[in-house]
Each structure stands twice: as C-alpha cells, then as structure tokens.
C-alpha cells in the first residue's frame, strides 16, 4: 500500500476483555515497530520486529501484551484482560530495515483504544 495502515481506527472495550490491533506496513519494509502514546505524552516503544521475529520486546509493559507478525508483513498487537490503564493510542511504524545507517520510520494513523 501507499502507507502504513492500522485497523480499527478506534476501539472501545470493557475492562477484562481481549483486543487485537492490526498494522499493515509499507510493502517491502522488513522492520516494524509498535509504540504506545498516552494522553499528553510522546510515543513509547513497545516491540520491534525484523521480518517475522520479535527482535526486541523490551517495551511490552507486562505479559498481557503480545504481538505477532507471522508472514513478515501484517502485525497484530494483542492485549489480554484489558485494564483502564491500557487506554492510549497505539502507533505502528515500518521502515526498510537495512543494516547500514538508520532508516526513516513511517507511521500509521494509530488505533485509539479506550477501556471502560
């Protein structure tokens, strides 16, 4: 596609429910990142994929959060037993993923998650 897309745009759920957030990166981008942006804050890193593998998941806040990228393209961020503190905008970004220099990350429009 022309850019990074994320679905849904908005998600409202109840405390304790399970949610899945989807990211469709730019075609050909091997690197994919998830960030979380709480109200009034800058985005915070959650997890990084290179191809199909999660190369760095050090930003995931706890084991209720999990992400996959089974075919090296689309990624899904999964949150179990949601809590009100999980309410935030979840941003996805992709980049070429080369090892020379630093590639620009292109961001999607984000998913706004609201946990009631």
């Amino acid at each position: 596609g022309a850019g990074v897309s994320q679905t849904p745009s908005n998600k409202v759920t109840e405390k304790g429910k399970y949610v899945e957030l989807r990211c469709d990166p730019i075609s050909g981008h091997t690197a994919l990142y998830w960030y979380r942006q709480s109200l009034g804050q800058g985005p915070e890193f959650l997890i990084y994929f290179q191809g199909t593998g999660a190369a760095d998941d050090s930003g995931l806040p706890n084991d209720r959060f999990f992400a996959v990228r089974p075919e090296g393209s689309v990624s899904t961020l999964k949150i179990q037993r949601t809590e009100r503190g999980d309410s935030a905008v979840y941003l996805c970004a992709s980049s070429l993923g080369g090892l020379a220099g630093v590639d620009t990350q292109y961001f999607g429009p984000g998913t706004r998650l609201t946990v009631l």
């Binding site: 960030y35 009034g40 800058g42 290179q50 970004a93 630093v102 620009t104 961001f107 706004r112």
Partner: protein
C-alpha cells in the same frame, strides 16, 4: 538508554513569522540520529527533518532547519515563514543504530499554534 527533553509544552507564532522549538537529549552513544516529527490532529506522525550526529552541517528541509549543538546535546527546530498547516504537536526523537533495531525515544512534545 536515551532520554529526550522538550521544555516547551506550548508555543505560538504569528503566520509568516519564525519560531524555534527546543529539544535536549542525552545518550552515551557516539553514533546516533535525531529526528523531528510532526503530529497533526489526524494522529499520524510525519517526519519533518533528521540529523545524523556525525554530520557537522545542520540539516535543512525547505522552511525547516535545525540547530544541532552536539557538545550541548541540543537539537532545536526552526520553522521559517510559518503557515497555518504547520499547526501540530512536534516531537523530538533520538535513536541509535543497533544492528537494525532503531527504536525511537521521544520527548513529550510541543504544541505549536499558528496565529493568523
């Protein structure tokens, strides 16, 4: 670990005037990269400008330029001839190149208002 500080939560500028947004950062690495991203109400982060730390020359992109002071760990953004479309949140970010893992560390942002 990297840290980024943006000490100006809000700034305003008259249309067609010049404004400078401040950013300071901290890193123990010698090879790092700095970015300014713009986030309009649509939530999508858009790259404004980037600077490689090893380059002494300040980056410029049309009306946008940076003042990179490596010793002071300062990376300010200057917007010339401000336009209404420049109104947005602006985030400063830093990353290091770590075998492909280029996760960004962001500041808390500066909200820029353009006064017609």
């Amino acid at each position: 670990a990297q840290t980024v500080t943006q000490s100006q939560p809000e700034m305003s500028v008259q249309e067609a005037e010049t404004v400078t947004l401040s950013c300071t950062y901290d890193t123990s690495e010698s090879d790092y990269y700095l970015f300014w991203y713009k986030q309009p109400p649509s939530r999508q982060m858009i790259l404004v400008i980037r600077q490689e730390a090893y380059k002494q020359q300040n980056a410029t992109e049309n009306r946008f330029s940076v003042n990179f002071q490596k010793a002071a760990k300062s990376f300010s953004l200057k917007i010339s001839d401000s336009q209404l479309g420049d109104a947005a949140m602006y985030f400063c970010a830093v990353t290091i190149s770590n075998f492909g893992n280029e996760k960004l560390t962001f500041g808390t942002g500066t909200r820029l208002t353009i006064i017609p």
